[in-house]
Structure formats: structure tokens, C-alpha cells
């Protein structure tokens, strides 16, 4: 197809892009760097040849690791002109049906034979292939394709792809948050452009990145972080444009109590260092502990070493805005109860909050505490059940394995706190006894 020049430019892979490699259901997030070896599914690949190609192109992995765009040839399917049987009553599984040995196949691979051709050879050398039923033959080919096809697709990252990747590859890093649970969180918390979101997560930045994607660069996200500095590795994988990062702010939770009590030291001091990448926010050190020769770019270790974090007047604005947050999202390995109760104070009334936990018991505690304290309505403790289907003519059924669990969510909406009535005395929880009158006097 003829290129449309600029129109296509945003769909072309560039050096430095963060992309996702895909083969079947396996994903891996990598950055396109020149002459850098990347390992994917036990193969070494060089991504250099991908630069300039369009996203969602399928590449063949040549021996040596270089990529070449895969051409879909109109080769005859290995199933053409092969007869099929009716059932498996006469097929004996003696392990001797395939004439090609492992070594033979390796030799073919080394000769540079394409995946499709290896499969054809396997079919030709299969003693009882013609006895299999048609469905069985298709299943066989599909299985071999998975094993021998030497292709990889390069995708533009998105929340959907990264959430599936993390859940498949490193669920431990994301507190076993299943991607549909993440989907529920984003919707229940009403994340959209212009939101002001308070996030506390220890999911490698996946939750943070997903929120940022749904905000499209509008609004602001304040990441509350434990310890010395915010962890955001996952956010990089999304490959956001630079201006998205302007919406991202952070605040250490060790100062939350001081902030709520009004005793936080926000006075400006002389700047001694400037953080790279955020020229408008200067961070200064008052504690003269170990600041000899401050590096321009602070490493995580430096941050941890710092005895005290001091705030610039600009951050005062951040702090003020903190108190009128619109959404609260929590997904961490920390006990959710104190996190939720502490951070809820920053939410305005009639705003949503969502808390994720891998385990249900801590959320039961949260639920009870919230009911006691009042100030929230529409509390729901839920989880979702996810099941995939194989859809083929006459062979449609759910897949044999399904996810055992994806974590639990507690969601609700804040309301104005009422101090006159003791919390817990509600008469509004019973179902409507009779037909309810609803008469609007206007048209």
C-alpha cells in the first residue's frame, strides 16, 4: 500500500519507542534500542529492522536474530488434499506415528526452513495423520504452529495489552491484579480526562499508567508513595508522550499526618539542586547530611538517603489541591484499611473511591470501619469471574482452564460527613416496602 507520509507517521515504529512483543498469548514489553539484544521466548532478537515499519506488523525472526516483515504467501495449507477419518477408534497412541526425529527437525530449522514448511514436513511424515478426524487435524496444525512458527508481532502499548502481559508474566509484581479487575477499577473510580486522582499503588506502576492513559494528559494524578521514592517502572512501558508526565505528581505518605494536622513545613529554602526532567519543580535539601556534590539526577538510593524532604512553594499548590481530590484508587500490598481511612480525608463529597486487595479479609475490615465512621454510601465488596470461550463451528465451548481469582474490590462514594446524627443509625437500608411514589411536578 502506498504510504500516506505524515498520516502514517504516528503509526510507525521509532527508535526509543516502548513497544510490546507478541506471539500468540505471550507478551513482553521492551524498548527499541539500536543493536540491543532482546530475549523473547527463548530467542535472541535485534529490533533494529523494526524501526520505520508500522505497528502491528508481524516479523519473521531470521537466524542471527534480525527481523524481516512477514509476508503472507498463498502457500497451500498443509491440509489440502489430505483425507480425514471419522473417529479415533483405530488410532493407537504408540508414540511412533511421527517419522521425523527431534534431530531431523533441528536440522530442518538450521537449514532455515520456515515454520509453515516444517509443519508441512511433519504432516507428510505422520503415519496416521490421514486417519485423524478433520477437527483433530486442525488442532494438530494449530499446536505445531504454536511451536514452530518463528514470528513476532510488534504492538503499540496500551492498558489492555500491558495489563494482560503483567498478569501473564509477573502477577506477583502487580499483587495478582487480573486485567478485568483493573478494568472495573478504572470505571468504578470514574477515571476520565480532567480528573484529579489520588493513587496509592504497589503494582509496578501499571495502575498508575492505566489511569494516566484514561486521562489522556488532562487533569492530574498525585501518587502517594511509601518509602523513599515513587516506583514507576510500569508507567514507562506505556510510552506516553512527554507532556503526560506533567500531570503526574508525587507525595510521600510519611508526611500525610503532618499535612492533615497542618504542621507540614512548606517554607522555601535556597535551591541547591535541580531535578532533571522537571525544571519547574526544584527540590531542595535542608538537611546537610550528605549533600556534597549533589547529582543533577537523583537516584532512588539518594532519595532514600535524604533525611528530610523539603517543599518548594509550588508544592504548596499541590498540597492545597490534594484536599479537593476527585478520585481515590488504592491497589497495594499494604493493609488497605489504614491506607483508605487516611487518604479518604482528601476526597471531596460525592466522589468515588476504589480499593483493590488480593485478599478479601482486609476489605471486610475496611467495609465495617467505613460503615462505623459514616461518610460513605454505595459500598460494594465485589470480585469478577472471567471465562474465555473457544468458538468454532460445532466445537464451541468454554476453555478448559479459567482464572481462579483476580482479587477483590471495595468501591463506594463519599458523602458529606454528618456530625449531628450518630453514624450507623440508618433507616434507609431496608428494601422499599411498597410501591414508591415518584411524582415530578414539572412536565
Amino acid at each position: 500500500m502506498a504510504d500516506n507520509g505524515d498520516d502514517d507517521n504516528q503509526y510507525r515504529i521509532k527508535e526509543g519507542d516502548y513497544v510490546v512483543l507478541k506471539r500468540g498469548e505471550i507478551f513482553k514489553a521492551v524498548q527499541i534500542q539500536p543493536r540491543k539484544k532482546v530475549i523473547f521466548e527463548k530467542q535472541w532478537i535485534f529490533l533494529d529492522n523494526a524501526v520505520g515499519q508500522l505497528y502491528s506488523t508481524t516479523f519473521e525472526i531470521l537466524s542471527g536474530g534480525n527481523l524481516k516483515p512477514h509476508e503472507l504467501k498463498d502457500t497451500a495449507s498443509p491440509l489440502d488434499a489430505v483425507e480425514a477419518g471419522t473417529d479415533n477408534r483405530n488410532i493407537v497412541d504408540d508414540g511412533k506415528s511421527q517419522k521425523l526425529t527431534r534431530d531431523d527437525i533441528e536440522a530442518l530449522k538450521e537449514k532455515g526452513l520456515k515454520g509453515q514448511d516444517i509443519i508441512k514436513k511433519l504432516v507428510d511424515n505422520h503415519a496416521t495423520f490421514g486417519d485423524k478426524t478433520e477437527y483433530s487435524q486442525v488442532k494438530y496444525i494449530k499446536k505445531k504452529k504454536k511451536k514452530y512458527e518463528n514470528t513476532v508481532m510488534i504492538l503499540k502499548p496500551s492498558c489492555r495489552i500491558l495489563a494482560m502481559m503483567y498478569h501473564g508474566r509477573e502477577p506477583g509484581k502487580i499483587c495478582h491484579l487480573r486485567y478485568d479487575t483493573l478494568a472495573q477499577m478504572l470505571t468504578l473510580a470514574n477515571i476520565h480526562a480532567g480528573s484529579k486522582v489520588l493513587v496509592f499503588e504497589t503494582c509496578a506502576g501499571l495502575v498508575l499508567g492505566s489511569i494516566m492513559e484514561r486521562m489522556g494528559g488532562y487533569g492530574s494524578v498525585i501518587q502517594m508513595y511509601p518509602g523513599g521514592g515513587p516506583v514507576r517502572a510500569g508507567v514507562e512501558n506505556f510510552g506516553f508522550p512527554a507532556h503526560f508526565h506533567d500531570t503526574l505528581h508525587e507525595f510521600p505518605i510519611c508526611h500525610v499526618n503532618a499535612l492533615l494536622a497542618g504542621t507540614l513545613d512548606t517554607s522555601a529554602k535556597d535551591p541547591t539542586a535541580e531535578e532533571q526532567g522537571s525544571p519547574e519543580e526544584e527540590s531542595m535539601v535542608t538537611n546537610t547530611g550528605d549533600d556534597a556534590g549533589q547529582d543533577v539526577e537523583k537516584t532512588e538510593k539518594d532519595k532514600l538517603k535524604e533525611a528530610k524532604v523539603v517543599f518548594h512553594t509550588r508544592l504548596v499548590c499541590l498540597i492545597i489541591s490534594l484536599f479537593f481530590t476527585c478520585r481515590l484508587v488504592i491497589a497495594s500490598r499494604f493493609h488497605p484499611c489504614p491506607v483508605l481511612l487516611g487518604l479518604l480525608k482528601f476526597l471531596s463529597p460525592s466522589r468515588p473511591f476504589v480499593v483493590y486487595s488480593q485478599y478479601i479479609e482486609p476489605l471486610i475490615e475496611c467495609f465495617k470501619k467505613l460503615k462505623e465512621c459514616g461518610g460513605t454510601v454505595n459500598l460494594r465488596l465485589t470480585d469478577t469471574w472471567l471465562r474465555h470461550y473457544q468458538v468454532l463451528p460445532d466445537r464451541t465451548h468454554p476453555l478448559l482452564l479459567m482464572s481462579g481469582g483476580g482479587g477483590y474490590l471495595l468501591s463506594g462514594t463519599t458523602v458529606a460527613t454528618d456530625h449531628s446524627k450518630p453514624a450507623g443509625s440508618k433507616q434507609a437500608e431496608e428494601p422499599a416496602p411498597k410501591r414508591q411514589k415518584l411524582e415530578d411536578t414539572e412536565g
Partner: protein
């Protein structure tokens, strides 16, 4: 107030959500001088609503409740049904799997009662657009009216036509297409035409497996990739404290001084905080089939 932007105070002309209880949520069109009857008494808009903060408590003669700012999720629970609607669980999954975000251009059919439509508008605002097609004239008119009341009409175009015959009314612009119609296989071709040249995502929602089979076949024939069918269900837990009685096996004949010094008195029961599940839960809403349109 709008469905795509929060505000703090209730104003004349807003649509506010009256939260009476867990399963009792109703929308109210706020108007100077108007009144609304509820089981707890009369709400006088001018004094009880206008000028009050969203989230405040309103007390009536027989009780009280809270007024909430509208969101697509509350709207889904509160809206007057003209058709069977999609609920938040499916909506959330669809939103992520279609990769919707601010600026997305989406085509949808049928609009129905507008449950999903509101959620899409919220996600694609302020720079995206929704082209929604509804073949029932009254429903199309009603939903257009609601979009206007909810201050989202600038983000949506409602077309009263049959998507299977006339398509979505746009060509080569959509990042995502959603189908919730009786014969989605007849609309797949039109969906392809409406989608951008360099590709996009498609979702079809069907209650019956036969529909799913036909749709998957049509998707395959039209060159769609990554075709997958999934089902998502919500389980809601009821949190409560239960009291479990302990059995009385009689006095313990083996008890010696080694018995714990702080030997607990014979508790009749143990109380614990736990969850119970409802007797019945939704077991099926519909199958969600997703696919990717490759570059054409």
C-alpha cells in the same frame, strides 16, 4: 454539572442522583420551584437542592438521603429502562478491551437506553466523538434528549437508521466499534467500513451462543484478527457479623492446674466478621466477542 465533569454545587437544570439506599437510586431533574415525591417525603428543589453541595444530606419529613453528582455508573443503575441495558461490569471490561481513551472515535449500535453510551462519552471526552445508531425512532429521540440534558450532546451524534443496512453513517474514522444488536454478523462489514484504515478494535455483545458463532465466522471472513470471546460476571459479597454458637461437651475431666491461668469463661458463641453470598446471582448477561481490524 455534566456527566463528563464534576461540579460542587447543585444548580437549576442539573440532573442529580437521589441515593435512598443500595438498590434505590433515582434521577431528579433539578428545577426552581419544583417538588419531587419520595417515600421519605417531599423534596423541595429550591430549598433542598439548589445551592447545596453534591454529597449533602437532605432531610425530609419521614427520613433522609444523600444527593450525589451524576456519573455514568449511577446513571446505569438509575436510568429508566427502555430496553435491556448493559451493566457496569460489562461496560468496564468493554471500555478497557476496546482501548477507549480521551480522543477516541467510537461507533455504537444499538443505542438502546444509553447506558453504555454515557460511559463511552465519559471516557472519550473532551476530544473524542461517539456515533451511535438506533433503529427505533422514539428511543433515538429520547436518548438524544437525555444527552442534551446531561450536557454531553456535543460529543455524540445519534442516527436513526438500521446499521445492518445503512451502516454507521461515517467512513474510515472509528477507533472502536461496539455492536449490541440481534444480528451483528450483518453489521460486521459496515463496521469495517466505519473503522480507520490503519485498524481498530471491535466488540460484539450477544446473549446467545449461536449469535456468537455466526459473528465470529463473519469476523474471520472479513479479515479481523485476534478474535476472542469472553464472559464477565460480577459477584457481590454481603458483609456481616455472624455469631456461631460453640458446643458444650460438658465439663473437661482432664483439667489440671496447667490449664491456662486465664482460662476463658465458657463463651456461648464466637462472633466473626465475614461475607455471605446472595442466594442468587447474575449468571449470564452476554458473551463479549472482541477482535482487531488490521491495517487495510
Amino acid at each position: 454539572m455534566s456527566f463528563v465533569e464534576y461540579s460542587d454545587l447543585i444548580q437549576d437544570g442539573d440532573v442529580a442522583i437521589i441515593y435512598l439506599s443500595h438498590n434505590n437510586v433515582m434521577p431528579v431533574k433539578v428545577q426552581q420551584g419544583a417538588q419531587t415525591q419520595t417515600r421519605y417525603g417531599v423534596i423541595r428543589h429550591s430549598t433542598d437542592l439548589i445551592g447545596q453541595r453534591y454529597g449533602s444530606k437532605v432531610t425530609c419529613s419521614k427520613g433522609w438521603f444523600h444527593v450525589l453528582h451524576p456519573t455514568p455508573e449511577l446513571w446505569t443503575v438509575a436510568l429508566p429502562h427502555r430496553t435491556q441495558i448493559l451493566y457496569t461490569t460489562d461496560i468496564a471490561f468493554i471500555t478497557m478491551m476496546l482501548e477507549l481513551r480521551p480522543g477516541s472515535i467510537v461507533c455504537e449500535s444499538g443505542t438502546g437506553s444509553g447506558s453504555l453510551s454515557h460511559a463511552i462519552l465519559r471516557t472519550i471526552a473532551p476530544t473524542g466523538h461517539l456515533h451511535t445508531v438506533e433503529f427505533h425512532q422514539q428511543r433515538a429521540e429520547k436518548v438524544a434528549e437525555e444527552f442534551k440534558e446531561h450536557r454531553v450532546d456535543h460529543l455524540v451524534t445519534v442516527r436513526n437508521q438500521d446499521v445492518c443496512k445503512d451502516g454507521f453513517g461515517v467512513t474510515g474514522v472509528a477507533d472502536a466499534v461496539f455492536l449490541d444488536i440481534p444480528s451483528p454478523w450483518d453489521a460486521v462489514g459496515h463496521a469495517k467500513v466505519a473503522m480507520k484504515k490503519h485498524g481498530g478494535r471491535l466488540c460484539s455483545f450477544s446473549p446467545c451462543i449461536e449469535q456468537v458463532q455466526k459473528t465470529c465466522e463473519a469476523l474471520q471472513d472479513q479479515g479481523f484478527e485476534d478474535i476472542s470471546t469472553t464472559e464477565v460476571l460480577l459477584r457481590e459479597y454481603d458483609v456481616r457479623t455472624v455469631s456461631l454458637p460453640l458446643p458444650d461437651f460438658g465439663p473437661d475431666p482432664e483439667s489440671t492446674e496447667e490449664a491456662t491461668p486465664a482460662a476463658p469463661p465458657n463463651h456461648a458463641s464466637i462472633s466473626l466478621k465475614t461475607t455471605t453470598l446472595p442466594r442468587e446471582m447474575p449468571g449470564h448477561t452476554g458473551y463479549l466477542t472482541f477482535a482487531t481490524k488490521p491495517r487495510t
